[in-house]
């Protein structure tokens, strides 16, 4: 797997090696009774293919945002940096279609004028010409507006990133002083102060300071008590900047001169991946973020009657109880196709206790390390019969999206489609030609943990879930990252009108429906459960 920053791992004893599946003693256990293909024990699913645990249960339903509570879809095309809403793109496409159509219409009128004894049609032709011109002018103006917006956003982010690099280096120096003086709470306050101030939480700094005296639990209580802070797009922007400037911060915290850290950052050879690998190197020295071998077992198998259609149905099939769901599509005379659904983080405990979809996998995954969740997913894929030439589509939510992106980026698999929701995967370099989209809510800081979007092979779709912040739930620390929040965005994507979004959705749908519509086709879903072997799970 290629380090996502495009840079080789620094030759430091702190940086863990990039593991390969199986290298750490990973195992695939025999399937549970009824889960093997030979057992024949699994009957048809009766048409219900949606896992019953998908985060949209009764407790969440009350707080589930609806698509009309959110903002427009903001879309960035693959291979480009142009940013425009789905509505703007649709308006441009409509204006272009009208201009072209009326151009042809005017030519038909000119031909009509040549019919013997036709009524005079010059005025009619002129009216149609004028309408075509107006459509062309509107199309041009809309395109120019999009270009200006894109340019303004690019310049704003460039300035912001440069500022955050300096902020990171200076904050790191302050944190280093705090840590060396034994004032860990003060150091944490220095790290968190920037995002909170950016999110309008200046008045809450005394409260944060008091909460930090209660350690991590105190911080957790503070964050749950103020969900509007973590969900503020400005907080998300600062998290993105901090992730990008973290290695400057780590450098200066360790005593590196600020100027040297900035020069190192300016070379472009550092970034979130380097920071994450550093954390994975340092963490185990204090008993945190430790990697371990994983065991993977097939625990379920069922026949499925129909493929997922649309983003909302794909998200609904991402598992919660087990970590990986693989759907195998067969059709007579054709090679099987597969869809791999990958679960989100199941525990944020920094000391892994049997769960490979943990914080260590989150951090290490951003660092380009083949962490437990990635290795577990790849082992499940092999067990399901997926080979290096099998066509695979990957779908993941949160950490599952990061895993899906990493697997798609790995040259060992033939990934043709990818859909991620709220994934910290913007720094994963994907292959050319991959279809699908990366979906992010603007209130969600989790994708920002991978720093700025550096890969441009996949359609990017962003959306504000709560256009009116007062509608945001107050009992969740990160409402924008909840599955129900992404379900609302997925519904908005399924209702999108622009050609670009619809084309990518159609490509993902077509991958499975092409087989499902053939006579004699079958769909079999396998569920996998993974544990860290040296843990308690």
């Amino acid at each position: 797997m290629i380090p996502p920053d495009g840079a080789p791992a620094p030759p430091s004893p702190l940086i863990p090696p990039l593991l390969k599946p199986g290298a750490g003693g990973d195992r695939v256990l025999p399937p549970l009774p009824g889960a093997s293909d030979e057992s024949g024990g699994a009957g048809p699913s009766g048409g219900s293919t949606t896992p019953d645990v998908n985060g949209a249960g009764a407790d969440d339903e009350h707080f589930a945002p609806t698509p009309d509570m959110g903002g427009p879809l903001v879309v960035t095309s693959p291979g480009r940096t142009t940013v425009a809403t789905d509505g703007l793109r649709t308006a441009i496409e409509t204006a272009a279609r009208i201009a072209s159509g009326l151009g042809h219409a005017a030519r038909r009128i000119h031909r009509a004028e040549l019919v013997p004894h036709a009524p005079p049609l010059a005025a009619t032709a002129l009216a149609v010409h004028r309408a075509a011109d107006a459509a062309g002018q509107l199309e041009g103006a809309l395109r120019e507006a999009v270009d200006r917006y894109t340019d303004a956003e690019r310049r704003a982010w460039a300035t912001f990133d440069a500022t955050m690099s300096v902020e990171g280096a200076l904050a790191g120096e302050a944190i280093g002083v705090g840590v060396r003086a034994g004032a860990v709470a003060a150091a944490a306050l220095a790290l968190l102060a920037g995002p909170l101030i950016a999110a309008g939480g200046l008045a809450l700094l005394p409260s944060l300071r008091a909460s930090l005296k209660g350690g991590a639990a105190g911080l957790g209580r503070f964050l749950v008590a103020h969900p509007q802070l973590l969900s503020n797009p400005r907080f998300v922007a600062v998290v993105r900047g901090i992730a990008d400037g973290m290695d400057e911060a780590v450098g200066t915290a360790a005593g590196e001169p600020v100027a040297l850290a900035l020069i190192r950052g300016a070379t472009g050879r550092t970034g979130p991946a380097t920071s994450a690998r550093l954390l994975m190197g340092l963490g185990p020295k204090v008993g945190l973020l430790e990697e371990s071998p994983v065991d993977v077992q097939r625990v379920g198998r069922q026949q499925v009657t129909s493929p997922a259609v649309g983003a909302a149905e794909r998200l609904a099939r991402v598992p919660e109880d087990d970590q990986v769901r693989i759907e195998k599509y067969t059709a007579p005379g054709r090679d099987p196709r597969y869809v791999v659904y990958v679960a989100p983080t199941r525990t944020f405990d920094p000391q892994p206790e049997g769960e490979p979809f943990d914080l260590a996998s989150n951090v290490g995954g951003v660092g380009g390390i083949d962490v437990g969740s990635i290795r577990a997913t790849e082992l499940a894929m092999k067990d399901a019969g997926i080979t290096s030439s099998s066509q695979v589509q990957l779908v993941g939510f949160s950490q599952g999206g990061m895993v899906a992106a990493r697997v798609a980026a790995d040259g060992g698999w033939n990934a043709v489609g990818l859909q991620t929701f709220g994934a910290p995967s913007g720094n994963v370099t994907l292959p050319d030609g991959i279809q699908g989209m990366a979906v992010r809510n603007r209130e969600d800081f989790v994708p920002a943990l991978a720093g700025p979007q550096t890969d441009h092979h996949l359609l990017q779709v962003q959306r504000t879930v709560y256009a009116d912040p007062s509608q945001m739930p107050t009992d969740q620390a990160a409402p924008g990252h909840q599955r129900v929040a992404y379900a609302a965005t997925a519904e908005a994507i399924d209702a999108a009108r622009s050609t670009e979004v619809r084309a990518q959705s159609a490509a993902l749908d077509g991958f499975t429906s092409e087989y499902a519509e053939l006579p004699g086709s079958t769909i079999t879903a396998y569920s996998y459960h993974a544990v860290r072997r040296d843990g308690t799970g």
Binding site: P72, G87, L102, R108, A112, P119, A127, A131, L142
Partner: protein, 80 residues
């Protein structure tokens, strides 16, 4: 109002005119039914006002063109 033709239009000529003009009318009515529309949520920044004017201008011109083509069709259908 379409001025009268300079002579009698035969059935073949009328059919040819209808073949050419009916799709034009359809095109215009489709455009009027689903014109390019930018909602307030679609950020346009400083270009917002100019684009709004062009959007309105397009609707007016589509309406004029549709009216002109409808009149031309009525004229053709009324000729013998």
């Amino acid at each position: 109002m379409i001025p009268p033709s300079d002579g009698a239009l035969d059935a073949a000529g009328r059919a040819e005119l209808l073949r050419l003009l009916v799709p034009v009318a359809d095109e215009l009515h489709d455009a009027l039914h689903d014109p390019p529309t930018v909602s307030p949520g679609d950020w346009l920044g400083p270009a917002s006002e100019a684009c709004g004017r062009l959007e309105t201008e397009l609707r007016i011109r589509l309406l004029h063109a549709a009216t002109a083509v409808d009149e031309a069709l009525a004229s053709v259908r009324g000729l013998s």
